[in-house]
C-alpha cells in the first residue's frame, strides 16, 4: 500500500505526515497525533462523538479520510480550551452539569462552537436541532441544552 504525504494543521500546529489512504481522520488525530480528546463511537456518522472542525466547519472525523484533510486546518477539543483557561462553552458545561460520563462531550462542544458562530443567541429549538446529530446516553440532553445556553451567555459578556 502506498502512503500519501499530507500536511495538516491541528490546533495551530503544522504536521507533515505519511498516512495510508484509508486512514480515518479520527484515527489519525487519536493514534498518530495522540490527541485522544476526539472520541470514536459508531464509526458510521450517527453518534457525532468524533466531530471536529475542519476549516471552521464541523465534520465527522470518522467519515473523513486524513488524505481528504490534506492542507486543511483542524480544530479538536484540545484546541478549544484548557482546564485552567476554559472556553465559555466548557465553562457552561462545567456550571450546568452538561456531562456525566463525558464520552459525547467533545463532539457536543465542537458542534456547539459552530452553532454559536452562526447563531450567537440560539433558541432552545435551534440548540436541540443543532445537537440532533450528537447522541448522549447519560444526560437526557436537558443539561446539555442549558450548558450551551449558559456558554452563549458567557460569550455575550454575561457573568
Amino acid at each position: 500500500m502506498s502512503n500519501e504525504k499530507i500536511t495538516i494543521t491541528v490546533n495551530g500546529k503544522r504536521y507533515d505526515k505519511e498516512v495510508e489512504p484509508r486512514r480515518l481522520l479520527s484515527d489519525f488525530i487519536r493514534d498518530d497525533l495522540r490527541l485522544t480528546g476526539t472520541h470514536v463511537g459508531c464509526e458510521h456518522g450517527v453518534c457525532g462523538s468524533c466531530t471536529v472542525l475542519m476549516n471552521g466547519k464541523s465534520v465527522r472525523s470518522c467519515l473523513t479520510f486524513a488524505v481528504m484533510a490534506d492542507g486543511a486546518e483542524i480544530m479538536t477539543i484540545e484546541g478549544l480550551g484548557t482546564a485552567e483557561n476554559m472556553h465559555p462553552l466548557q465553562k457552561g458545561f462545567w456550571e450546568k452539569h452538561g456531562l456525566q460520563c463525558g464520552f459525547c462531550t467533545p463532539g457536543m462542544l465542537m458542534t456547539a462552537v459552530e452553532l454559536l458562530k452562526e447563531k450567537p443567541r440560539p433558541s432552545v429549538d435551534e440548540i436541540r436541532e443543532a445537537l440532533s446529530g450528537n447522541l448522549c446516553r447519560c444526560t437526557g440532553y436537558q443539561t446539555i441544552v442549558e450548558s450551551i445556553q449558559r456558554g452563549a451567555e458567557i460569550m455575550q459578556g454575561g457573568k
Binding site: M1, S2, E4, P21, R22, L24, E43, H44, G45, G48, T51, M54, K57, S58, V59, R60, C62, L63, T64, F65, V67, M68, T111, E114, L115, R128, E129, A130, S132, G133, N134
Partner: protein
C-alpha cells in the same frame, strides 16, 4: 482493511480514465456514505478516486437562459445556503437543508448523494419535482439524463461503468413555480419515512414522493386531478388516494408500509398548502 490505492486527480478526464479502467475502483465525493460503508466493510474497492480536487465539478452557476448548473461536488450545506437558488428552485435548497446534520451537510455532496440513489434520501423527489437533469460524464463523453429516468431502482441509477455525476441542471421553467419540500422523519436528521416535493405553477402541478417506492413516485392522474380541481380540498383528497395507489412502500425501521400509505395524503395536503402560502410570482 483491504489494500486500496488512492488517487486525487485534478482533471476530470483523468478521473474518468482511472474509473473506466478498473471496475473495482470507486469514486469518492464527500464520503458521508462511502466512508461509512468502507468502515463497515461493505465494500472493498481496489482504488479510491477522490474527486475533491477537480475544479470542473465545483460551483453553482446561473446561466443566461435562467437554468442553474450545480457542480456535483457542491455540499449540501453550500446548496442550502446558496443565494443562486431562488424562487421555485429553492425547493432544492430546502431539501438540502434537511439532509442529516450540519456536520454531514458540510461534507456530503449532491453528486455523491444523487449517484447513491437512495429512494428515502431528500434529493431524488426534489429533483424529479423540479424536472432536473443529471449531467453524467463517462468514457464515452457527456450526456444529460432527466431525473425521472435517472433513478431506476433501490440504489440503482442510469450511470454506466466509469460514469460519474458531473452536475445537476435545474431548468428555468419551474423557477416561476411555487414549491415546497415536506419531510416526515422520526427524528431530525433521519432519512424520510415519507417526503413530498411539490411544484405548482399556472400551467400545472408536479408532485414526487420519497420513501414510498424504489424510485421517486409520481402519478400523472393525481397531477391532472389537482390541476382540474384547482387544488380544492376534494381534488387534493382524490390526488392523495391516487398517489397512495401509485406508491409501493416497504415495511422498515422508519415505518410500516401501511403507516407510509396513511402519511402520503396528509403530507401531500400539507405540502400543497405550504407551497401555495409562498409569495405569488
Amino acid at each position: 482493511m483491504t489494500t486500496t490505492r488512492f488517487h486525487a486527480p485534478e482533471r476530470l478526464d483523468e478521473a474518468i480514465r482511472l474509473l473506466a479502467a478498473d471496475d473495482e475502483a470507486r469514486p469518492l465525493a464527500g464520503g458521508q456514505t462511502l466512508v461509512a460503508m468502507l468502515n463497515a466493510d461493505l465494500l472493498s474497492p481496489s482504488q479510491i478516486i477522490s474527486l475533491h480536487r477537480i475544479a470542473a465539478l465545483k460551483g453553482i452557476e446561473k446561466r443566461s437562459d435562467g437554468s442553474v448548473r450545480i457542480g456535483a461536488m457542491t455540499t449540501h450545506a453550500g446548496l442550502a445556503r446558496s443565494d443562486v437558488l431562488r424562487d421555485g428552485h429553492r425547493l432544492l435548497a430546502q431539501a438540502a437543508g434537511r439532509i442529516g446534520h450540519e456536520a454531514i451537510r458540510n461534507r456530503g455532496t449532491i453528486g455523491g448523494a444523487v449517484a447513491h440513489g437512495d429512494p428515502s434520501a431528500d434529493y431524488p423527489p426534489a429533483l424529479v419535482a423540479l424536472d432536473a437533469v443529471i449531467e453524467a460524464v463517462g468514457p464515452k463523453g457527456k450526456r444529460e439524463i432527466p431525473a425521472s429516468d435517472f433513478f431506476q431502482g433501490f440504489l440503482t441509477t442510469a450511470l454506466g461503468q466509469g460514469e460519474i455525476v458531473a452536475a445537476i441542471i435545474l431548468p428555468p421553467s419551474l423557477n416561476q413555480a411555487r414549491t415546497h419540500y415536506e419531510k416526515f422523519a422520526r427524528v431530525e436528521g433521519d432519512f424520510a419515512t415519507v417526503s413530498v416535493a411539490v411544484a405548482l405553477w399556472r400551467g400545472g402541478v408536479r408532485i414526487a414522493l420519497g420513501g414510498v417506492g424504489p424510485v421517486p413516485v409520481r402519478s400523472a392522474e393525481a397531477e391532472a386531478e389537482l390541476q382540474a380541481g384547482q387544488l380544492s380540498d376534494a381534488a387534493i383528497n382524490d390526488a392523495g388516494a391516487l398517489l397512495v395507489a401509485a406508491s409501493d412502500p416497504l415495511d422498515d425501521v422508519r415505518g410500516s408500509a401501511d403507516y407510509r400509505r396513511r402519511l402520503i395524503p396528509r403530507l401531500v395536503k400539507r405540502a400543497i398548502r405550504a407551497a401555495q402560502a409562498k409569495d405569488a410570482r
